[in-house]
């Protein structure tokens, strides 16, 4: 808070000026160090270069990963066994808390629904569009439109969909939300969409599906282009129907890509917190682990429970990592 107090005396342009001075300085320093390193190392003798190359090329990235990812992971594991202020060890208390408090159980349930529905829905829709547009003459416009949400931030998407889901409680006022208007025009009664559990979770999931479908479509449609025409034609000559061809020829041929798409979306879904935060703030039983972790750690200032939730998230992802590493190994040996 004291920062905004300090800011009170500066105009926006002054702040921007200061910020861009720091920016210029940082970029110059970074560039300068690199140029200097290359000049010095480039002139060193051959034997010195043999170890200098590791120092310049490999060590910076490794150090950052060590300090920025590996150390924090270990530390979070330790914190998850300690109390709110990280002073005393409390054993498995934080985990017992996570799996017994009804509120958190709802959070876990919601996360499970997200992780199941989002990858399944976005991959299916993306696959369908990829197949429909596979032999189209000009699919570019269609694909660009469906792919576009990928460029929009989760926060922006949250705002967009808040307007779609807007509910006008006053019956005498016109409906401003698209969903309510559509429901009314079909003779239904609009609800306050964001309040009614468990349906509100599904409305939030729609937003994530809306974003991820384009990704699935683009990647799968590239994979379909790799399916040799001869195979499709052979199936056709044998009299396979379009549906048959899809499930017996195309699907098996793109199986590996399908798995990659699914796992990528699973990981993205587990980590998503912006959508829930922007649209419901995690209220009305829509919360997910990623958002609850933030609330526990930075609102309640409870590092113990916050860390435990982060670890639960991590454990949920581990099978996906193991699977991915296996796939990568296989691929490398095939090469």
């Amino acid at each position: 808070m004291h920062f905004s107090f300090l800011a009170a005396r500066k105009t926006p342009w002054e702040i921007i000026g200061e910020n861009f001075t720091l920016l210029a300085f940082a970029l110059l320093a970074f560039g300068g160090v690199l140029v200097l390193l290359f000049l010095i190392a480039g002139r060193a003798n051959v034997r010195a270069q043999e170890w200098l190359k590791y120092l310049v090329f490999l060590v910076p990235a490794l150090l950052l990963l060590l300090v920025g990812l590996i150390y924090p992971t270990i530390r979070t594991i330790i914190l998850s066994f300690m109390d709110a202020k990280s002073e005393n060890f409390v054993g498995f208390d934080n985990y017992v808390w996570a799996f017994t408090i009804p509120e958190i159980l709802i959070v876990l349930r919601n996360t499970a629904i997200w992780v199941f529905l989002v990858p399944f829905a976005s991959t299916s829709i993306g696959l369908a569009i990829a197949y429909m547009t596979d032999r189209m003459k000009r699919p570019t416009v269609i694909k660009s439109l469906i792919f576009m949400p990928m460029a929009i931030s989760f926060v922006g998407a949250g705002v967009i969909w808040r307007f779609v889901y807007y509910f006008e409680p006053n019956e005498n006022r016109p409906d401003l939300g698209l969903l309510s208007t559509i429901v009314k025009s079909f003779g239904g009664t609009p609800n306050n969409w964001m309040l009614e559990a468990p349906w509100n979770t599904f409305f939030l999931i729609v937003v994530m599906v809306w974003i991820q479908t384009g990704f699935a479509m683009v990647v799968l449609s590239a994979a379909m282009k790799n399916v040799p025409d001869e195979i499709v034609e052979a199936a056709m000559l044998d009299g396979a129907s379009p549906l048959n061809r899809f499930f017996r020829v195309t699907m098996p041929m793109i199986r590996a890509t399908l798995v990659v798409v699914l796992t990528t979306i699973i990981i993205a879904t587990l980590k998503v917190f912006d959508i829930v935060r922007t649209m419901t703030g995690g209220n009305f039983q829509t919360n997910v682990i990623a958002n609850e972790m933030y609330s526990q750690a930075f609102r309640q200032m409870n590092y113990g429970t916050g860390s435990a939730l982060a670890i639960i998230l991590f454990v949920a992802i581990i099978p996906v990592i193991i699977y991915n590493i296996r796939q990568l190994r296989l691929e490398r040996t095939e090469r």
């Binding site: 990235a61 490794l62 990963l65 429909m132 931030s153």
Partner: protein, 307 residues
Amino acid sequence: MATVQTLRAKKRAKDIFSSPFASAAAWIIAVVWTVPTFGLLVSSIRPDTDINSSGWWNFFVQPNISFENYQKVLFEGTTTNPPLFQFFFNSLAVTIPAVIFPITLAVFAAYALAWFDFKGRDFLFFGIFALQVVPLQLTLIPLLQLFAKGLVIGDTTIIPDLGITGTYIPIWIAHTIFALPLAVFLLHNFISQIPKELIEAARVDGAGPFTLFTKIILPLSVPAIASFLIFQFLWVWNDLLVGLTFGAGSKEVAPMTVRIAEMVGTRGSGWEVLTAGAFVSMIVPLIVFFALQRYFVRGLLAGSVKG
């Protein structure tokens, strides 16, 4: 090669796939996908009286255009709630280094992992690959403490308190760290496929590891670097979590996403301002996306298509 029969089959295939039904269905989905964004854009250019009295689709009945919402959200503000244009520049100041730093370090590391011979190289590569999925959430608390207090184990200070909390530096570093695993992986895929003969030839000509990098590796990796650049740009510009936590709540460094999320939370600001604000935050990524879509797709595919 093609017999009459296969030619006919090919034609039939085209007919079925590009059947009017499939095209129509694809078009309908595309329109449904675009309507929400389009609605926001239309709302943002309507006068506030219109926005609050009728749905955006009424714009086509009474097309009143006003840029007042943009004027308001961009330039009107108080010292505690600065105007959005300040956050726009904050987003730029966050994004530029947060794109340049990780890509530079990742090209370096990818080169080392692809072309240096040393023990444990594969182990390192798989390790970095695995780190891709470490959720951001897992690192937040320790990293924030690290930035605020330095790193002290026992009585030995390993990293001192640098006094950088509330500046851009923690945000830049955090983004750099989180980008590295994917960046190293993607660039390694590309750099390891540079023909060995090329590298050997340069070595025979007396090029050391540094000359090799500047004369061969770097020029040849430009396409891969470009793809990842777009990727990382979109990711950083659209990020909320890192800006929110590592910005330490300072409005002087908070990117636009943080401000928009805050506007959603407070009941005070009306619809009209929020629509314009949200659109301002989307305009840069949308331009980048539509202008460079091809490279973006290439980057995505490099990471995920097999075979």
